[in-house]
């Protein structure tokens, strides 16, 4: 599976006052991941299938099915994020800075069924979401 800039739907950037090696440990060691994200059986091995488990709530069993897609130590980590019939990819990028690490999380989401409308719909959504903030902003 590949992801491109055209598919991303959510990007969060943050500067952290810690070296990339330390942030990497927090992103890739199961017991540490559990402390900030969710219980998991993650292994930093490409192709490893695992799940994140949260407390179930009505309408959601709390399970996120994942597969490790990219492991580039101290710089890039990606895994699929499948839940409630929606498949997306979460990609972490670490960039060293003078005071620590620039952490970027991108979640690119799209329906898992690749029907005939898939490409068009994906393009449409991307464009649409790009316009969304502007359109809603203009309405005020």
């Amino acid at each position: 599976m590949t992801t491109t800039a055209q598919t991303h739907t959510l990007v969060i950037d943050r500067e952290m006052a810690h070296p990339p090696e330390k942030v990497w440990r927090a992103l890739t060691q199961g017991p540490l991941i559990e402390q900030w994200l969710m219980a998991n059986d993650f292994q930093p091995v490409v192709g490893h299938r695992f799940s994140f488990r949260a407390t179930p709530v009505p309408g959601w069993n709390g399970v996120i099915d994942s597969e490790v897609l990219v492991v580039e130590p101290y710089s890039r980590l990606a895994y699929s994020w499948g839940t409630m019939g929606m498949e997306s990819v979460v990609t972490w990028t670490l960039t060293p800075t003078e005071s620590g690490t620039h952490v970027r999380m991108e979640q690119s989401g799209f329906p898992s069924q690749e029907g005939p409308n898939y490409k068009g719909a994906k393009y449409g959504w991307q464009k649409f979401i790009g316009n969304l903030e502007r359109v809603v902003g203009e309405e005020d």
């Binding site: 992103l27 900030w36 994200l37 952490v103 649409f128 969304l132």
Partner: protein, 107 residues
Amino acid sequence: MQAVADNVFRALADPTRRGIFEEMTRHGEQTVHALTRHAGVSQPAVSKHLTVLKRAKLVRHRREGRETHYSAQPQALAPLVDWMSQYGAFWRDRFDQLENLLERMDK
């Protein structure tokens, strides 16, 4: 509230319908004729799409003589914006927890 959100998501899930909506957000109020020129489907099909958009309150119509004019109601996108910002809030909260963990961790 959930039903309102369902109508909005369903209305915008169709690429043709979304195209019609986008056309109105870009170029303002339009007749079915004008919308049909852009949509690439028949006028009855455009009318059906407009009905679905109206049900989701994404479109408003106004009669003037024999013509009906349709315009986009972008404020009806609110459930979609809420949904997006909830997902954003989820990750921002996790980022906070990640930073808390890093503070507690040894170098």
